[in-house]
């Protein structure tokens, strides 16, 4: 693809479109938020630098995921063994499975938004502190006067309840389709 302003705009749009799915994909392979941030950044840079090589009409998400995969491998290698979460074979396995299902991300997001509406206020506050304020469980615990363990358990409970909500919603949709 040649460099032209129009095509650059088109490319940036595709790049922006892909961000959420890319981040989810990377986090599955590299379950550390800071590392995932770094790899997403690196992936964006590489995608931009290689934009002339992207063939219009081909699968942008697949191309992006492939680049992200290699960036994950590069990151793992750079960080060394102490930062590695999983062994290489598991990462490869997760990569294949994640890539095969990456098209569902937006549907999941729509459902997640519905499920988040159902959360009670204390749970919303916890999510707010964790994700918007970027606080660790220990910091949240200090703020709320609770133990860090209790916060971690609460966060896990919220996530599991959201997963359950998403699952039930998907089932009901499937049943309605029948």
């Amino acid at each position: 693809m040649d460099f032209t302003p129009d095509k650059d705009v088109w490319f940036v749009q595709r790049l922006a479109d892909a961000q959420r799915g890319l981040y989810a994909y990377i986090l599955q392979l590299l379950p550390n938020r800071a590392d995932a941030d770094d790899v997403l950044q690196a992936t964006n840079l590489v995608m931009w630098s290689k934009r002339s090589q992207f063939v219009a009409g081909s699968d942008f998400a697949a191309w992006a995921a492939r680049i992200a995969y290699y960036e994950v491998l590069t990151h793992r290698k750079r960080k060394g063994r102490d930062r590695l979460r999983f062994d290489d074979s598991l990462v490869e396995q997760l990569s294949q499975e994640a890539a095969a299902e990456s098209g569902q991300i937006d549907a999941v997001l729509q459902t997640l938004r519905l499920c988040m509406e159902k959360l009670n206020q204390p749970d919303r506050d916890l999510l707010q502190m964790q994700y918007a304020d970027d606080l660790r469980p220990r910091q949240i615990a200090e703020r709320l006067g609770r133990s860090p363990g209790a916060i971690s358990v609460a966060m896990h409970r919220i996530r599991m309840s959201l997963l359950k909500c998403i699952d039930e919603h998907d089932r009901s949709v499937r049943e309605d389709d029948r």
């Binding site: 040649d2 460099f3 032209t4 302003p5 650059d8 940036v12 749009q13 922006a16 961000q19 959420r20 981040y23 989810a24 986090l27 599955q28 938020r33 941030d37 997403l40 950044q41 964006n44 840079l45 931009w48 630098s49 290689k50 090589q53 992207f54 063939v55 699968d59 942008f60 998400a61 697949a62 191309w63 492939r66 290699y70 590069t74 979460r85 598991l90 396995q93 499975e97 994640a98 890539a99 095969a100 098209g103 991300i105 937006d106 999941v108 919303r124 999510l127 707010q128 994700y131 918007a132 304020d133 970027d134 606080l135 971690s152 896990h156 996530r159 599991m160 959201l162 997963l163 998403i166």
Partner: protein, 653 residues
């Protein structure tokens, strides 16, 4: 997304992993469980996707191409129904939708070949997924997040692009910059000059520093950090600044900059520079200082943490130590040295410390005079009289003479300067071959198998030997002195073809043109090294034949030229070894990934240089490695001798 039926223990492991609280032993346990249990893997992936989406929904991680992208980590979006809390950790830069962020104007921007990020990336497309792009909610498109993401990636790409543009193919001696580089974000670029000299520069590895690429244009606001070496900036105004590493200097105006640490020499020419930064689309601004700069006038000035040294028609040096103490030395003409107060501002005209010379706050220095400003609550300038430090300042970057020894010519039985082409070497026995058989298909039917031995090459004084690298062995001998290398990845211990020195590539099906250069054309050359193959050059013999040129460096481009199927998954590795030790390696080079640069400094005591192409552990298919214009640059850091020998200089335009 279906929820898997799991015992509580594994899902708690996943939660702890995500929170970063999973001990090593439990991590290994989780690894095993995930590997063996598909349902747990599913839960794991669902959990991670959920976390990613929550983060994206509540506080999207922006595309941080630059360090301070708009909407930094401190900028958070609140949940509906939740009070938004301010978790800002610093000032944020906000780009409103439609802010003054320009699309890159340049076409065919040549991006840096040295980025390690690119080293392992296959070219698109590689259809692993069955999906198309994700549809974008309309509210997201219109959000500040989207605007910032677009703006940030464009600005970041512009930064990369501008610094990566090759202005002229000047040579310089610089260590490879850190791949993990970031940049300063600015809404627009104003170029105020050019880099016009580099010598032995080692750039800082700081993550917030993006090294320039060669003789790049100098954008307003860019900070240069040198660990060592010399760098010359020529401003559009004609002023020249020589930075002496270690040094940190920010170009904060069109007529000066901020020296926070280190040493520089400034020379203000009366004529405008002929190397004006022609890329500047905002030339009229060059008469104005950056509004952020406290330098009050358009005279050339160097600001430091404690002083401003302003040119009054002169050549002068400024040195700043780690405590901010500033010394200035005048070589010619005169300068005004003004003390800055504790906040880094010039004294108020009506406040304490105002006044002219003799107030202790300002002094005019003339030729061969020097002065110092110490920090503290009441900084004052102290005139030191005749300077004893003038010899410490570099007033001119020494010209370095070099000539290039063509290794393609060497392989073709030349002396490095005769331009020969069209010969090769058989790595299985070290014999010279005069013809290369017609190239077979991507997977040659007949392969040469290595015997595990290093083979001397007779009749070529600059070539020590050749061999087939057997990565399956613990150690591989790389030269006749017995140096060994143990780092090759496992290989098939076979080679498809002999090493070939072209010239015209032996088979028209495969390109000899890369990055806009036809390496088969006159003045260029290529070494074709289909994995697995290696050749070792005798550096000492080359030095003996060129006794005046002592310092060497190896420079080339390299690529996997198999292009029939873009992004074919087979990969190859490229190695540059010196005396059995890796000085450069690029692994997993797929076809169609383009070329990359190789620059390896050679030290005085280095004896042998080995170039190797190996199969990346997946067989020799599609491993068509070439070195383009592989050359030894022989350096002679003596300008006078250079003129006698007709060499070229390595300083800037």
């Amino acid at each position: 997304m279906s929820q898997s039926s799991m015992t509580p223990e594994p899902d708690r492991l996943i939660a702890k992993l995500l929170e970063g609280d999973l001990p090593e032993t439990e991590r290994e346990q989780l690894n095993r469980l995930l590997r063996d249990d598909a349902s747990l893997r599913r839960l794991y992936r669902e959990y991670m996707i959920l976390d990613a989406l929550l983060r994206w929904e509540i506080a999207p991680p922006l595309m941080r191409v630059g360090e301070e992208g708009c909407g930094t980590r401190g900028r958070r979006r609140g949940m509906a129904g939740s009070p938004a809390t301010d978790a800002s950790v610093g000032p944020t830069v906000e780009h409103p939708v439609g802010a003054a962020v320009e699309l890159p104007h340049q076409h065919n921007v040549e991006l840096p070949h040295h980025l390690d990020l690119e080293s392992q990336i296959p070219n698109p497309p590689f259809p692993l997924l069955t999906t198309t792009h994700y549809p974008l909610p309309a509210d997201f498109v219109g959000s500040w997040t989207f605007a910032c993401m677009v703006a940030t990636v464009i600005v970041g790409a512009m930064l990369l692009g501008f610094w990566a543009i090759k202005i002229t193919p000047h040579q310089h001696i610089a260590e490879a910059p850190s791949p993990a580089s970031r940049s300063i974000e600015r809404p627009e670029f104003v170029f105020v000059g050019r880099i016009t000299g580099l010598l032995d520069v080692k750039w800082s590895d700081d993550e917030d520093f993006l090294p320039p690429h060669g003789y790049a244009y100098v954008p307003l606001g860019h900070k240069y950090k040198l660990d060592s070496g010399l760098m010359e900036i020529t401003y559009d105004s004609g002023a020249k600044v020589i930075l002496q590493g270690p040094c940190t200097y920010e170009v904060e105006s069109t007529a000066g900059g901020y020296l926070s640490l280190g040493k520089l020499t400034a020379k203000v020419e009366k004529e405008r520079s002929e190397v004006r930064s022609q890329r500047s689309d905002h030339y009229p601004l060059s008469t104005n200082s950056n509004p952020q700069s406290p330098i009050p006038n358009p005279l050339f000035s160097v600001r430091t943490p404690t002083a401003i040294v302003t040119d009054l028609g002169t050549e002068f040096g400024v040195e700043v130590d780690e405590t901010g103490v500033t010394e200035s030395h005048v070589f010619r003409g005169s300068v005004k040295m003004l003390v800055l107060d504790g906040t880094g501002n010039p004294p108020s005209p009506s406040g304490r410390g105002a006044g002219g010379e003799g107030s202790g706050q300002v002094v005019v220095l003339r030729a061969n005079e020097s002065a110092r400003v110490d920090g503290g609550d009441e900084p004052r300038v102290t005139v030191l009289g005749p300077s004893t430090k003038t010899a410490d300042f570099i007033r001119r970057i020494p010209e370095v003479t070099y000539k290039t020894l063509d290794l393609v010519d060497v392989v073709a039985s030349g002396d490095g300067f005769s331009g020969r082409r069209g010969r090769g070497i058989d790595p299985t026995n070290g014999r010279i071959v005069d013809a290369l058989p017609a190239l077979p298909g991507p997977t040659p039917a007949v392969l040469m198998t290595g015997d595990g031995q290093y083979h001397r090459v007779a009749g070529m004084p600059f070539i020590d030997g050749a061999f087939i690298p057997d990565g399956g062995k613990d150690e591989v001998q790389t030269d006749s002195a017995g140096h060994v290398f143990a780092g090759f990845r496992d290989t098939a211990n076979t080679a498809a073809l002999c090493l070939w020195a072209g010239g015209a590539f032996p088979d028209q099906r495969y390109p000899s043109k890369f990055g806009g250069v036809d390496y088969a054309s006159s003045g260029h050359g290529l070494l074709f090294m289909h994995a697995n193959i290696a050749i070792t050059f005798d550096l000492e013999a080359i030095r003996r034949a060129n006794p005046d040129y002592r310092r060497l460096q190896f420079r080339a481009v390299a690529a996997n030229i198999w292009t029939e199927y873009e992004s074919y998954p087979d990969v190859a590795d490229v190695w540059v070894l010196v005396d059995g030790r890796s000085r450069f390696q690029r692994q997993r080079i797929g076809s169609g990934q383009g070329i990359f640069s190789v620059l390896v400094p050679i030290h005085d005591k280095d004896r042998f240089l080995t170039l190797a192409a190996t199969d990346g552990g997946d067989g020799t298919s599609h491993d068509w490695i070439i070195f383009g214009d592989p050359r030894l640059e022989l350096l002679l850091p003596d300008a006078d001798e250079q003129k006698e020998k007709g060499g070229q200089t390595m300083n800037g335009p």
